[in-house]
Symmetry: D2
Subunit: 335 residues, 4 copies
């Protein structure tokens, strides 16, 4: 750490990588030294904007002993390997979800490095949304008593491109609902023992020609009787619908949606408000910054909570089991 700043190398300068680059470069606790990206146009542009060095190969980051931390925002298929190499280079690690796509490899990584002394922080950004974090704080405070029911609504405004859906069959589970499964584990306070899913295909052929699942529900059961219900869709015409509700023995708490404004228009036939914030870039803009705050605190040895390697593994595992349930039309016993 130079002058108390954490020196970071970013891997990946695609959409989400560029977003991280901007946030990292502005953060007072971070020095963003490298942007590693094989695509030179993309990498060069992003690096220039944030005043960092562009490199094609992340190996330079890993071998630079002055680098404190690696920030992984490359494609999912590269995650497990990059996490492993970063740990071997003794770096702190931030990695976008998922921790990988091959559960065997992921399990091997977790087994080997679960006790690694530096942060391995998996980017489940929703935990860092102000309202969701406040909900968690209230649950932790005991204000609603023992958690009995978690309800999560998670709807994207628009489906991903056709090629992307085709390349990731069942992706609604391991690409999108994986976030909700992480939230479920975070709030339930115990591991589910059974998962039951439904999956549907509602979108037009034009946007979903391969008839991929574009809507799904998941029910998680825990040994204590606590349950979580998730409902997800890849097309909510009214915007990005992100709600969490936790019901307990002493009360209930909701983290509600965020609108585009706080304006109400009263007319003869209705009272109107502006739509919800459109997508994660708007809704979770501050969450991405809070992730960095927490990562910096963790690197400095402060006691903070964040989703770690094990959490990354569990959410991935649950997403695969949920997909299995949807495909087999029956519940799957876990663990």
């Amino acid at each position: 750490m130079t002058a108390n700043k954490i020196k970071v190398g970013l891997i990946g300068a695609g959409f989400i990588g560029a977003l991280h680059a901007k946030n990292l470069s502005r953060h007072p606790g971070i020095e963003l030294a490298y942007v590693a990206e094989p695509n030179s146009d993309l990498g060069g542009k992003v690096a220039a904007e944030v005043g960092s060095k562009w490199i094609a190969d992340p190996a330079e980051i890993l071998s630079d002993s002055s680098v404190d931390a690696v920030w992984i925002a490359s494609p999912a298929s590269t995650h497990t390997d990059l996490i492993r190499r970063s740990i071997e280079a003794n770096k702190a690690v931030f990695c976008e979800k998922p921790v990988g796509m091959d559960l065997v490899e992921v399990d091997a990584l977790v087994d080997k490095y679960e006790d690694y002394g530096k942060p391995v922080f998996i980017g489940f950004n929703r935990r860092f949304d102000g309202s969701h974090a406040r909900l968690k704080e209230i649950v932790e405070s005991g204000a609603i008593g023992k958690v009995e029911m978690v309800s999560i609504t998670s709807r994207d405004p628009n489906p991903p491109p056709v090629y992307y859906m085709k390349a990731t069959p069942g992706g609604i589970f391991y690409d999108t609902i994986i976030h909700d499964l992480d939230i479920a584990r975070w709030l339930l306070g115990e591991e589910p023992v059974e998962v039951y899913s439904t999956a549907s295909c509602h979108l037009d052929n034009e946007v979903n020609p391969d008839r991929e699942y574009d809507a799904a529900t998941v029910t998680l059961k825990c040994a204590s009787g606590a349950v979580c219900q998730i409902t997800a869709s890849r097309r909510a015409v009214y915007g990005y619908d992100q709600r969490i509700e936790v019901f307990g023995s002493k009360g209930m708490v909701q983290s509600e949606n965020h609108g585009q404004s706080n304006v109400k228009l009263y007319q003869q036939d209705s009272i109107k408000q502006d739509p919800l914030q459109n997508f994660f870039i708007d809704r979770y803009a501050t969450a991405y910054v809070s992730e960095i705050d927490t990562f910096v605190a963790a690197c400095r040895g402060e006691k903070v909570d964040f989703p770690n390697l094990k959490d990354g593994r569990e959410a991935l595992f649950l997403s695969f089991e949920a997909l299995k349930s949807a495909r087999s039309d029956g519940p799957v016993r876990l663990g």
Copy 2:
């Protein structure tokens, strides 16, 4: 009182009289014996519906010693005299606002009968709305500390008929805002020492050919520095807008509008709710019933709060002074 029921004679079977007749006839604590109404068609119809005796002249109610209470819902010009005669006949009295239209007569009545031992209850129905009453309870509890500011929004969906506006020049003050002035006194906890009003004329010639005031504001100042702002209109296209807010040294409390439903519709361009309840018949339906509950309790000697003769006088007085201010374009010192 027959069998613990309060025997009531109703005077007036117009719109509001018929509403009271229905509520009184259904109330378990009331026996509605008479409906007095000069118009025989009207009076006969209402009396038949509620199983009471129709009479043309209210004198029969006043001379029937078995009648416990007189319920006055006749035209405003008759109120002062009917209250006086009812008191002289030793009846409990309910009288729709206003207590009269001639302040000299009203003052004489108040002077003579302020200490009358039976209830003289003036029908400021808003005090009995569930939300407004809850607000008052919170203010009384001290939860917001010393009252510093009362804000009242009071908008009718539609103006009264042209003939009515013409017959009651400046009526927005003594017909409508008189309710708000009563609410102001109820919440301020002290009498205002100054009133300043504005009055405007916004409606089309078609509905307001005589260019009567159809919108107004009132500012009331108290000796402690507490202030009340009222805004009123005779045409809110979005429904009956009835809001009260009280700001104090330790907090603020609002009694908000009531919608026609609790339904929210999320569409691409907006989030929509149904409009507000349309008018006082809907919004204050339960308030009219609560008035009767309180009147019955008062007749039975229970300690309950209700707007009395003096309150009726003060609100009338303030409405006249507010009208004076609007006409003179300057504040009026009171008392």
Copy 3:
């Protein structure tokens, strides 16, 4: 019908029977002639209050040819038989849910009388709540497009007495969730092909010594891919939680909870509102009256929608299948 009023005989004067008695006696379209109730104290008291004749045996209602309609609010075990006898006596019928407790008998009744020419109206009161009815109207209007997901939250403030829970094992499904299953069918617009449930036992031994299910979830799947998720609890400390949400291809609509007031208190540490309406007596007070309005309209031959005998059968069937799923720990294929 005497003087255009529908002459009704009420069967049952328990808690809900007494409520119906009061509403029926006040309804301008109804003449409540009889209150049949074996318990003479109870029956006599209720009949006196509403000015009807008390009888012990409902047979007198059925044999009185001037009676137009039978209103059944007796114990669930008597429903099927009383509906049958009422139909045989050529009466219109209102019957509280459920239509019975023995599906074989119920099926026989439905088979025989599905085409009966007079209304057989099953008391699923929630359909007649103003907000829920408005939600249904919006769904029917096409404003949210094709229905893809129905989410129902249904939580009672307090569990029933211990003796009642013991007498009705699994009753959370056929006593409470049966309402939600009716709402689900009403909104989905197609019959479910699979049901999956979870059931839990969270309450203390003191209030649930027999460890009956006191919380449950249900997932219903339809052939089109539409899904319904229900979450239910017998103890929500914050009041009667009754919400419905319908998500579709063009939008989403919610029927939200109803609070005890529309008051907001702003203090240093929080913004507070009064709790939800406590239970069905408050929340569905107007729904019980609307049921009568609709029943009267149906008796008069107007085209109105109401839950009929078949609807009563389907909701009962689904509640039994949902209970089966909870007990067997797996989904149940339907139909």
Copy 4:
């Protein structure tokens, strides 16, 4: 403009100057070249943080011909002179409100430079709040018809320090309510012809030993009959209360408060939300950035709306007249 960036010199590095420095330095359209501040510790620190050159005397900014714009955040007493000198140096100008404290000087400035070809942008930040701007857009769209009534609630969480209140007698009008007067003019669409104010002193001697006005109301009347009511306080224990409502012939629109989170906690006795955002730094954080966006657009010759020199003069004038009204206990005719 270097490389399409607007080269800016900032004058003043106090609290609000430092805030602007941070925002300016991060803005892609701005090059923040200088921070002028007589206090070398303060100026040096802020300049270092944003990578600009610290200077003691703003003259260096004015004489640097490569500087495009001057950003004035120095004490109010210096504003008129600095605006004048900046215009004489042919710079674009941003100046925090007020435009000065001496109306004669301000009038002279306006007279001379009203037609100056470059932007002179007065920092009425509230116009740039997302919700307020959306409200304005709706008003402009005609959705509420002709504006008849503007209601503004403007309450600070805490009063300024004692020394500050003492140094600025009546400051609640020209320091705080000046913002609301600007909003009133912005929304009314016509100039007021009369102002009537009340002013009160509610705070304890400890925080207000000089018995300065700490609460006030203002009523503005326009020739058309449109009216604006403002209520202001220097102590709202529940947070920063910033609401605007506009009522018109065809509807009503509200810009409501912003809470600290979108979380709702349901417990036995209440439903709770987190308090409002505490003060302008939180509530108007994005407004300060939007100001820069608009300033940049204006400098580039785009057609955008912003509060100009004349607007600054009018709001100052109204604040002085409102104070006069409060002191004289009567309305003041304008213009």
